[in-house]
Amino acid sequence: MEQKPGASQAEEAALVQALKAGDEAAYVKMVERYSPTIYNLALRMTGNREEAEEVLQETFLSAFRAVGRFEGRSQLGTWLYRIAYNAAMMRLRRRQLPVTSIDAAEPNEDGEIIPRQLVDWGALPDEILLSGELRRMLDAAVASLPEGLRSVFVLRDIEGLSTAETAQVLGLSEANVKVRLHRARLALRERLSSYFATAAPGVTVGMPGGSYGGRM
């Protein structure tokens, strides 16, 4: 199983022990180390910064109360991300948003996403891709994913968790994580391709059987 860099098992055990002993520096260390992923998970799941901030606060307040009972069966990060994920999902339920968005990249009957957009934008330089408008488009594309794909995508591809840890955080099998991740990526690729097909200059639209290597 992969470890987050800088968090060896022995180091983590020492951190947990210090947390249980009420060591303030250990609390600060935990907050510093795990805030970034908690915030990003909450931000992508709730879709707004205020709620993401509230989830971040709630997660650590809950963790501070419960750390005495943390048994170390999972990694500390996994445990925290799970608390955060549950807090974010509670908020979504309270809002009574539909569980999946309706236009989620048109999966077929098996839930498979068949590529339809064959625009070759793979060689576009990042500077062009990352104008303000494009960044908003990237955010909107993730937001359009059904929750069950979005959570997996955020943890695996944006936050860089392993398949195993993502599975633990979300209570899924590893096989299921892999399938969801693949669907999420295909759906995002489709969204981004649709965008480049209409919005970006200089992108060569692939023709069936057409030649490879669009200009740019």
Partner: protein, 79 residues
């Protein structure tokens, strides 16, 4: 996409991550040598992943971080 392409679709995430069985990997590459559509799908899939890996993460805003430490009653370390 042709029927043949769809057969490879399920494997493309594993393919771009280099996690695919070598035999299947070679098969996909043989197919891509002849199929421009699949090359585009693979290239843009790879680019999609890279974009989000490099630019998807947002820093916790400084003011949110400040409020977090205040709520938790902890001293805020230097950024």
């Amino acid at each position: 996409m042709a029927v043949e392409c769809k057969e490879y679709l399920d494997w493309l995430s594993d393919y771009v991550e280099g996690e695919l069985d070598p035999e299947l990997c070679a098969e996909i590459e043989r197919h891509m040598a002849e199929c421009g559509d699949c090359r585009i799908v693979v290239d843009t899939l790879r680019k999609t992943i890279t974009l989000y890996r490099n630019y998807g993460h947002e820093e916790v805003p400084a003011d949110a971080r400040e409020r977090l430490y205040a709520v938790l009653k902890l001293p805020r370390p230097a950024a």
